[in-house]
């Protein structure tokens, strides 16, 4: 690894949401521990997938990277600059270079703007190009994501769910940012469109060296695009490493359960993929020790009392870390 700063470096990132009853002096009902002590490095040009179950903190992490949430503690550095301590103009410049595709493509598109206006809006916000340049780039970006030029005058509700997601992707891509954070960009899309969009993401990266953070609840869906995978559980990273290393030799029982949970189509009826038993952890009162211990098939006494720290697995692929007391013994699935 060179001494140059990573495109993004996250250190000790923690985000809590205070739960209060309505009103100025509403009673506190504790806090949601959405993210706790997350460390992460994203190198330029790579695709990092962040995976984990519903509620584990994926969108919160994405929003902290995109400056939409201020962290409770910790730092996010963009090319070495701490974005939450940087002066306003620097923050705005970084915001332009980091674009996000939101999880809910309907809620994030303004219903009173046409598709063309939505796609072009970032150019206006960041004062880029004149009118003819803007319309040329809008048309070009729209066609890259597979939207028909004749449809661009229509409003979001006139498009199907998958078409709306394409609009959102075009909007994120139009500024040619350094980093695109895509929060579940595929789950609203049907399989053939999913493949087209994945191929599109890969093309964009080949052409312009884009960096991606790809958020997904589905490990199988990111296998094709991710260089590295970070697995979140209960607001913490429990395993991270090169995608193929994780698939071939995960060293964390939670990741292993995700790999087994990838559903496969078959001829028979009824649920036929293996899923994790037990209940997802409370985010208000997370389990002590290893947060995964109430559901872990490999749990031992130490797991209940002592939290395992993420540890590099030197005998595995480079950059492979796992937060499990028994990581070394968990060779492969």
């Amino acid at each position: 690894m060179s001494g140059a700063p990573a495109l993004i470096e996250v250190e000790g990132l923690t985000k809590r949401f205070e739960l209060r009853d309505p009103g100025l002096f509403g009673r506190s009902r504790g806090a949601v521990h959405a993210l706790t002590d997350v460390d992460l490095r994203i190198e330029r040009g790579e695709t990092l997938a962040v995976v984990g179950e519903s509620g584990c903190g994926k969108s919160t992490l994405a929003k902290c990277l995109a400056q939409l949430h201020a962290p409770t503690a910790g730092a996010v550095r963009f090319e070495g600059e701490d974005i939450f301590r940087a002066p306003a103009p620097a923050r705005k410049a970084i915001r332009r270079r980091v674009q996000m595709v939101f999880q809910d493509p309907f809620g994030s598109l303004n219903p009173r703007m046409t598709a063309a206006e939505i796609i072009a809006e970032p150019l206006l916000i960041h004062r880029t190009g004149d009118a003819s340049e803007r319309s040329r780039r809008t048309a070009e970006t729209a066609s890259r994501v597979g939207l028909r030029a004749g449809d661009l005058g229509r409003y979001p509700h006139e498009f199907s769910g998958g078409q709306r997601q394409r609009i959102a992707i075009a909007r994120a891509a139009i500024l040619e940012p350094d980093l695109i954070i895509a929060d579940e960009p595929l789950s609203a899309l049907d399989v053939s469109v999913q493949s087209q969009i994945l191929n599109l993401f890969m093309d964009l990266r080949r052409q312009s060296g884009l960096t991606y953070v790809f958020i997904s609840h589905d490990l199988g869906a990111v296998r094709h695009i991710a260089d590295r995978i970070a697995v979140l559980y209960s607001g913490r990273i429990v395993e991270a490493g090169p995608a193929e290393t994780l698939f071939a030799g995960s060293r964390h029982p939670y990741t292993q359960s995700l790999i087994e949970a990838v559903p496969r189509p078959g001829a028979g009826k009824r649920l036929q993929w293996k899923t994790l038993g037990g209940d997802p952890p409370s985010a208000i009162d997370p389990p002590g020790g290893c947060a995964f211990h109430p559901r872990c098939p490999k749990v031992q006494e130490i797991c209940r009392g002592e939290r395992p720290r993420p540890a590099i697995q030197p005998d595995s692929g480079p950059g492979h870390a796992s937060a499990c007391h028994f990581a070394e013994e968990l060779n492969g699935t």
Binding site: L19, R29, V32, G52, E53, S54, G55, K58, S59, Q103, D104, P105, F106, G107, G150, G153, E158, S160, G161, G162, Q163, D183, S187, A188, L189, D190, V191, S192, V193, Q194, S195, Q196, L198, N199, H217, D218, G220, R223, H224, E244, F247, A261, V262, P263, R264, P265, G266, A267, G268, K269, R270, L271, W273, T275, L276, D279, P280, S282, A283, I284
Partner: protein
């Protein structure tokens, strides 16, 4: 429980959709986006509806519930439910059915949730209106439903506003609301696609349970063929607003008859080794305003020939219980591997 074979033959439809046709008024004139769609739903059974983005799945569902946007209208068809045609029912007779006897889970959860009320309030309200439960009991039931859809700390989370929940939790809140009244018919539009496998399995089990308990009929709209194969008894395939194939799930996944169905099954990412570009069905769905003559799949069909462009092929029985809209139907399977 009767044997599956008996159920397959004896079950009358609880909802019978015939020739559903929906048109939108657009700047370029009327656009038919759902064109003569027919299928039936049976108590205790699940029908999977699949098809590419824009094929008309959501519009079909919205039409059944009288929820089309203002520029859309039902141009033809019937949807018979307990002796009444849902498509002809006046709004004041359809409204009490909606959310009670016929429930829908919308593709975008935020459209079904009110941002200024807690999710507990919203679920409890449904129960107060339709089941006439007193407030306290409705609230208890709402918390219970949130627990059943796998939301941790349900009693605290019931107090949360939609924006305070994660995307998957919002989706589950909407599912809890739809299932709260124990409907006869559930229309689930991409209800579980935003959910991880574990939560998804939990929801599907809950749906299957309710199905067994109350004989709920489910229309499960999804582009996730893996889930459809695990859940559905029957499959309806839409392409550009028309039914291409309609078959028992085992037949569809084992030996699809329509070239489009075959193409869909071949694009599954799980069949492609990593690092390779994923296969896609070449071409794109047709522009509905400029449909090709004849079979609308012809421009993308590997089997297309001159006669395909002559007339739109009707849905025809290809084998017992299966129908396909193709003049050259048939599975592209290796006869040596055919178990029958």
């Amino acid at each position: 429980m009767s044997s599956p074979a008996a159920a397959e033959t004896a079950q009358p439809d609880i909802l019978s959709v015939e020739g559903l046709t929906v048109a939108f008024e657009t700047d370029d004139g009327p656009l038919t986006v759902v064109d003569g769609v027919s299928f039936g739903l049976q108590a205790g059974r699940t029908t999977g509806m699949v098809g590419e983005s824009g094929s008309g799945k959501s519009v079909s569902a919205l039409a059944l519930l009288g929820l089309l946007p203002p520029n859309g209208r039902v141009a033809a068809g019937r949807a018979m439910y307990r002796g009444a045609d849902l498509l002809a029912l006046p709004a004041d007779r359809l409204r009490p059915l909606r959310g009670d006897r016929i429930a829908m889970i919308f593709q975008e959860p935020m459209t079904a949730l009110n941002p200024v009320f807690s999710i507990g309030d919203q679920i409890a309200e449904v129960l107060q209106i339709h089941q006439r439960l007193p407030r306290g009991e409705a609230w208890e039931r709402a918390v219970g439903m949130l627990r059943r859809v796998g939301i941790p700390d349900p009693a605290t989370r019931a107090l949360a506003y939609p924006h305070q929940l994660s995307g998957g939790m919002r989706q589950r809140a909407v599912i809890a609301m739809a299932l709260a009244c124990g409907p006869d018919i559930l229309i689930a539009d991409e209800a579980t696609t935003a959910l991880d496998a574990t939560v998804q399995a939990q929801i599907l089990e809950l749906m299957t349970d309710l199905q067994r308990q109350y004989g709920m009929a489910v229309l499960f709209i999804s582009h996730d063929l893996g889930v459809v194969s695990a859940l559905a008894d029957d499959v309806v395939v839409l392409y550009a607003g028309r039914v291409m194939e309609c078959a028992p799930a085992s037949a569809f996944f084992g030996r699809p008859m329509h070239p489009y169905s075959q193409g869909m099954l071949e694009t599954l990412p799980s069949l492609t080794p990593p690092g390779h570009d994923l296969p896609t069905i070449p071409g794109t769905p047709p522009d509905l305003a400029r449909l090709p003559g004849g079979c609308r799949f012809a421009p993308r069909c590997p089997r297309a020939a001159e006669d395909c462009r002559a007339a739109e092929p009707p849905l025809t029985e290809t084998r017992a219980g299966s129908r396909a809209a193709c003049i050259r139907p048939g599975p592209d399977w290796d006869p040596a591997e055919d178990p029958t």
